[in-house]
Every structure is written in structure tokens, then in C-alpha cells.
């Protein structure tokens, strides 16, 4: 089974007849079996008492007939991606009937009665099973386009038997000289003015002409996990190696799915929390009740944050901002006033988007060097001396800062990150002063303690 995340999901509703058959078994049984075997989050079959449908045949239960053909309704609530994967198979099984799909919000989805974090949960229950793969001979041009467009950041390379041969992340593309810099920057640059877009387009065009294939640029030394390994072990590997995603393979080396840092953080959010009165785990919809038993995910974020934050003042020159960005491990600079109140936050994308167009190609060159592990190339006067508008930190900062109080729980922090789609959050004390920043790896630590 795969777990369902709280939040947006879809309901697939299937209307069939009870006497419908599929390869010798009742159709609804076959559908439930298929869904179960393929890791659906859940399904419920309901027998209605009367009705009629596409076949224009009156479904009726009871009465004088022994062989009942009551209408059957199957409801499957699952993630849209998984449902899309199931649909063609279910369609194949149907001969008549009706299927509808609509959006729902899952407010609650709890698994077993557990206390605290389910750190022993097998990876198989959390991994993403709908994974795009490439084969050994897929051209680099295809891979570049796939990775630029896709929501995922790594493509597993498999052979014809589905055995994992290697993995290609955007980092590998940068190392191979195919991608000039990290994907977020490439995407941002392509949206900006023509000169900036061209500065990125050129290396991309060259990449598309490249005769290289997946097997020549893939990383062959892949850290993998087995489907039955615990999520705690997976978190340990990620934290030790700095990897953000791990392929999940079985004993034969067949790729079963991918496990990302985001998947693990999601578990922390959806795992049960103790209620004041309740004796078993549950996930509160509104965190209003007082919690008598402190769970590890309820520990304050202050225990996990980095206190070593890169900060600049609003009037700091851009060169100083970029120096600070390059040295910051989380690649964010927080802009503060004298009292350490947060005024804004700056990422490389913010600088690129807000500096004057003429300085952008120069900045891209700099960041491209940085991406290849050459952070020693510090900016020169070209950036600060221009007569344009952007000269100081305040000109390039993002003023829409999402922060968390130091007293917020780890769980609340992750929820906030997911909801606001931010990877790094500044942490504030009661006076609203900056005391640290927290990134996703920091929060993953709690899986080791749960």
C-alpha cells in the first residue's frame, strides 16, 4: 500500500453491476485486487439496492431472483498521479459502466495506532511509484528537456529488464557541462530579458546537439534503498551523503520507486500526534487542543535550526550580497535591520530577476562557476558600479518573507514550508528578531530521533 498525503486528492467513482465478470471473478473483486496490488491508498465497494446504467439493464437486488445484479459503486480516493496510472488498466477491465473523477480534499488519513513518528515504516509505503525513467541510450538532449520541464530532479536509468543502471540528476548535467547552472536559475533566466535568456539558451542548444547518451553522463555509483528498509535508515543515508532522493530497488536490482526528502518530510506531517484525552494516535485537523504528551515532531524548531545565518543590511552593496550568498550553505541571505528584524530574503534567483538586465549575463557566469564548484570567483566591480536601480540588498530582496516562530513545532514548520512552497524559513524569537534559519535537511534530522 502507498500512503495518501493529506491535501488535494481525487475520487474515482466506478459504477458497475454486481454480476459483471472479469476473467472468471466478479469485476468489483478484480478491480479491488488490482488496486490493492498496485499500491492504491484505499477503495470501498458499496452495493446499491436498485438502479440502471449504461447497459440499460435494470439492476436489482433481492426480489425473486437469486442471481442478484445490484448496482455496485466503487470509490477510490488517491493521488491524481496514481489514479491516472490506474485508469487505463481499469478501463480495460470494464465492458460498460461508468467512471467519474473529481477533486476532493483529504482532511485526514491515518494509518495504524502508533505513538510518535513511524520511523520503522518501510520505504515501500512512502516512495513515489509513478517514476519516469530513461534507458541507457536516451540522448542527452531528451534528458535535458525532461529534467527542465519535470517536477522531479533526477531520472533513473534502467535497462530493458527494469534494472537500475544509474541516475542522472541536474547536478550530473552540470558536472558533464551540459547544464550551465542549477535548474531554478535556468528556468528563471529563460523567463527574463532576451540577452539573459540567450546566455542560458546557448549552452542548452549545445547540449541538445550533443551526441552523448544517458550511459555516458549518468552517475553509476548510486546509493539505493530496499523497499523494506525503514524510513529512518533512508533519512540517515540522505543526511550522511547529502543526497535528496534515493532509488528504491529490490534484491534483483529492479527499480521499484523513488524516495525523496519531500516524501519523508510528508510522513512527519501526516504521522499521528497524541491528543490530550485520546489514547491512540491521530492527526489533528486543527491544532487547537493542548498536547500532554510531547512527541518528537512537536519539538520546537529552535532545536533544529541553523543559528549561523548569512545576513546583510538593507543598504549592503550587491557584491556583499553575492559574497554572502555564495558562502551560505542554504543559499539564502536574510536582510535584517539593526534590531535583527527581518526585512527580506534573497536567493540567487531574486538577484538575477531584480538586477539590471546588463549585469545579468555577468552574474550568470559567476553563478555558473559557482555551480561547478568554483565559489572562489568573487564578483568584481561590474555589479556594484552600474548606474541602474539595483545597487543594494533592498533592491533585490524578496519582501514577502515566510517566517516561523522559534517556538513552532517541527511539524508546523514542515506544514508551513509545504503550504508556502519555501525551502528555507527564517526563525524568529518572541520579539520578532532573527535567530536562525531552517532548511529541509535540518528537519529531516528528527526522523533519526523519533
Amino acid at each position: 500500500m502507498s500512503l495518501l498525503r493529506q491535501g488535494r486528492a481525487q475520487v474515482l467513482t466506478i459504477y458497475i453491476g454486481e454480476s459483471d465478470q472479469w476473467q472468471g471473478v466478479p469485476l468489483y473483486v478484480a478491480i479491488v485486487q488490482y488496486l490493492r496490488q498496485h499500491g492504491s491508498a484505499g477503495a470501498t465497494v458499496i452495493r446499491a439496492i436498485e438502479g440502471y446504467g449504461a447497459g440499460a439493464r435494470l439492476h436489482e437486488s433481492g426480489g425473486l431472483r437469486w442471481s442478484s445484479d445490484a448496482p455496485i459503486v466503487i470509490q477510490v480516493v488517491d493521488s491524481p498521479e496514481r489514479l491516472r496510472r490506474f485508469l487505463p488498466h481499469i478501463q480495460e477491465m470494464l465492458s460498460g459502466g461508468l467512471m467519474t473523477l473529481h477533486e476532493v480534499e483529504v482532511l485526514k488519513y491515518t494509518h495504524a495506532r502508533r505513538r510518535g513518528l513511524p520511523t520503522k515504516l518501510p520505504v515501500a509505503q512512502v516512495m513515489e511509484t509513478s517514476v519516469m525513467t530513461v534507458d541507457l541510450t536516451t540522448p542527452v538532449s531528451t534528458i535535458v528537456d525532461l529534467l527542465l520541464a519535470a517536477p522531479f530532479r533526477a531520472l533513473p536509468v534502467v535497462d530493458r529488464q527494469g534494472k537500475l543502471q544509474g541516475i542522472i540528476s541536474t547536478g550530473d548535467l552540470i558536472q558533464a557541462g551540459v547544464l550551465p547552472m542549477r535548474r531554478g536559475l535556468v528556468r528563471a533566466a529563460l523567463e527574463l530579458d532576451n540577452t539573459t535568456a540567450e546566455a542560458v539558451e546557448m549552452p542548452l542548444e549545445q547540449a541538445r546537439l550533443s551526441k552523448l547518451t544517458a550511459q555516458e553522463i549518468m552517475n553509476r555509483e548510486v546509493r539505493t534503498v530496499g523497499p523494506q528498509q525503514s524510513i529512518r535508515e533512508a533519512a540517515e543515508i540522505m543526511l550522511q551523503t547529502g543526497l535528496r532522493r534515493l532509488p528504491v530497488v529490490n534484491a534483483e536490482g529492479i527499480l521499484l520507486g523513488m524516495l525523496s526528502r519531500a516524501d519523508l518530510l510528508q510522513v512527519i506531517v501526516t504521522s499521528p500526534v497524541m491528543h490530550a484525552q485520546a489514547s491512540s494516535g491521530t492527526q489533528p485537523l486543527h491544532r487547537t487542543g493542548t498536547l500532554t504528551t510531547q512527541q518528537v515532531q512537536q519539538q520546537p524548531v529552535a532545536d533544529y535550526m541553523n543559528t549561523d545565518v548569512a545576513t546583510v543590511e538593507e543598504q549592503a552593496p550587491l557584491s556583499e550580497v553575492i559574497d554572502a550568498l555564495i558562502l551560505s550553505p542554504l543559499k539564502r541571505v536574510v536582510v535584517v535591520d539593526r534590531e535583527r528584524h527581518v526585512r527580506g530574503i534573497i536567493s540567487d534567483v531574486d538577484v538575477l530577476a531584480r538586477i539590471q538586465a546588463e549585469a545579468r549575463p555577468r552574474l550568470l557566469g559567476l553563478l555558473s562557476g559557482w555551480a561547478r564548484g568554483k565559489p572562489e570567483r568573487l564578483p568584481t566591480a561590474t555589479l556594484q558600479a552600474s548606474s541602474g536601480k539595483a545597487n543594494v540588498a533592498a533592491d533585490v530582496m524578496n519582501r514577502d518573507v515566510v517566517t516561523v516562530p522559534a517556538s513552532a513545532s517541527v511539524q508546523e514548520t514542515i506544514e508551513k514550508m509545504i503550504a508556502a512552497q519555501r525551502k528555507v524559513l527564517p526563525v524568529l524569537n518572541q520579539e520578532g528578531q532573527l535567530v536562525g534559519v531552517v532548511g529541509r535537511s535540518d528537519l529531516l534530522q528528527i526522523l533519526l530521533e523519533g
Partner: protein, 115 residues
């Protein structure tokens, strides 16, 4: 419920609660406890359906076809009401539904909905 010739559509929500028939809350069947809670809160109505087969978060298949595992057939409880009533129900339901799933969909109530 009052009948009107022209009913003005009201924005509401449909709540679906998926639990097991054998689950209990304070010594009585959970689905009945849910039903009572919903009624005490003044919801316009609720419908309880017993499924004949299914599986959920714990991956246990229950089916009426197999006598040994039929003790915990799936139960679906549907409650349709105005947004504010459904919103008020959620914390209470969250408390008593320890295991299972709660989903919500916006609906337009084109008739009924008044307690």
C-alpha cells in the same frame, strides 16, 4: 425541513468519513458515535453506508465474500451541509475518528439542507 417553491442554491460541503464497521468509540460502534455527534451539532442529515468490500490505510482487505474477514466491513458516512456547519463538525470528528479517512468536496445544495 421546509419546502419552498424556489430554493436558492447554497454553497455547502460533502463530508465523507471512511471507517471500519468494527471500530468502536467509548463502547459503541464508531459509525453510530459519528452519527450522534453529527446530529447533536445540528447537521441537516447524514447517511451511513456499509460497503461489501474494501481496503484502507492499513491495507486490510475486508469482504463479505470471505466470512473470516467480514467482521470489519467498510462504512462510509456522508454528511452534506453548509460550509460553516461542516467546518464546525471537523474538530469533533477529528477527535473521535482515530483511524480512517475524512475527505471533503464542495457541493452546491440545490434543495434541502435545513434542519
Amino acid at each position: 425541513m421546509t419546502q419552498r417553491a424556489n430554493f436558492l442554491p447554497v454553497r455547502g460541503k460533502r463530508l465523507r468519513i471512511f471507517v471500519g464497521e468494527a471500530q468502536e468509540w467509548q463502547g459503541k460502534p464508531l459509525y453510530r458515535a459519528i452519527l450522534e455527534t453529527v446530529r447533536q451539532q445540528g447537521a441537516a442529515g447524514a447517511t451511513v453506508m456499509r460497503g461489501i468490500e474494501g481496503f484502507g490505510p492499513e491495507h486490510h482487505l475486508s469482504s463479505e465474500r470471505l466470512p473470516d474477514i467480514s467482521a470489519n466491513l467498510p462504512i462510509v458516512i456522508e454528511v452534506v451541509d453548509r460550509d460553516e456547519r461542516i467546518d464546525a463538525l471537523l474538530p469533533l470528528l477529528d477527535h473521535i475518528v482515530q483511524r480512517g479517512m475524512i475527505s471533503v468536496t464542495p457541493v452546491e445544495i440545490v434543495y434541502g439542507g435545513e434542519a
